[in-house]
Symmetry: C2
Subunit: 256 residues, 2 copies
Amino acid sequence: MTCRVSIIGLSKIGFVEPRDSISKLIVDAARAEEVELADSDVIVVSHKIVSKAEGRLVDILTIKPSNRAKSVAQKTKKDPRVIEVILRDSKELIKANREALVVRRKDGFVCLNAGVDKSNVKGDTIYARLPENPDKSATKIRNEIQELTGRKVAVIIADTYSRPNRVGQVEFAIGISGFEPIIDYRGHKDLFGYQLHYKYVGFADEIAAAAELVMGQGVERTPVAIVRGLSRIKRANAIGLSKKLTVEGNRDIFYN
Amino acid sequence: MTCRVSIIGLSKIGFVEPRDSISKLIVDAARAEEVELADSDVIVVSHKIVSKAEGRLVDILTIKPSNRAKSVAQKTKKDPRVIEVILRDSKELIKANREALVVRRKDGFVCLNAGVDKSNVKGDTIYARLPENPDKSATKIRNEIQELTGRKVAVIIADTYSRPNRVGQVEFAIGISGFEPIIDYRGHKDLFGYQLHYKYVGFADEIAAAAELVMGQGVERTPVAIVRGLSRIKRANAIGLSKKLTVEGNRDIFYN
């Protein structure tokens, strides 16, 4: 049988405001677009609408930069108030240059500018921070969708990431609920019976990257995608699944 | 209109031998599975079957390791003959430890073990090297599919990559033919008229990652996937498109 995966964009979400219910917006948009949600669908949600709904927007006019933020701002020629917002969400500043700050966020992810971002946010001085706890946000959306529709979906909160050694950004899964984000082939046999030692697939990141193919980058007005037909999906109920993708505590063969 | 992308796996490719025609195997498998190829389809092909067809398998029993390979082998506790094969495909050895070698390949990609890999290759001492020039391999497959079917498809040769700062491997596009691998949003306006400065999407890598959702890792016997319905695809005819994704010559904000 031919294996097929479908990626279905939801473009009738509209503009999201603080305190909006993301799950209700998704369920309503799916109905309006005549897409019936199904068990084992993975719903990929742009972090930006989650940040907006959770009130994670910050007006930098209200921010008083610390001395450290001022010093980094001087070095990088950036706005010290934006630097301050980035530093507040970070536990380690790894590099800073005119293009961006490379930080380890409080949740362990290494990324640029701690995910603090101006794009697709209304107001010249308004920036979006990432959701406070993307795994929790994903779980809330998943549980509410089950209440609203009876469907046992899985949820990914996705953000756009730059990658070392590689040009171009792709979506990563920063919040995960309802399924195992990694597929572990280690110890399995390959086509010829050779035991695999290293295959350890970043399944959730692949799903997030696939979703971008219909979601685009904001201007496409498609902040949600449904990924359907994943034969290898395996349910998981733990909270904090995105941690399985962070290198912290693990060895990083590129650096050590 | 709801935007949909489909990912269709081809599982009737069978075992590939040296001098097999990959394009013919793809066209025959598509027919056998009643999938009609269409203009603007992106055909994602596992590098492993391309390497096999191009005779890029090497029996390490035939390899005489250099002194340098012996020295790296001693440090990493690996087989000096395998190290020799890796070094021959590399222009820079960045790191070496017991888990893997981090190298810059001759084509500029930074990756583990220069892509030299034992999995899904028959014979205990046989390893696969990457295709000599994956962009050329992709172009050959693309041109031949057009000759066989009249369809103007695009082609990606994909390989499994480990990523710095992130657990789990995903597919990357190492050979590209027929479309622009990057979507450049810089200078475009976002939802609220703010000019985007950094958005530069690694489209080809996202397509490769999406294809893995049906291709799996060999044991699934699905070395080819068709990705259909990409609204942002833009034709390109240049040779060497994968170079647009390599950081070499560009600045890498994570390291500089």
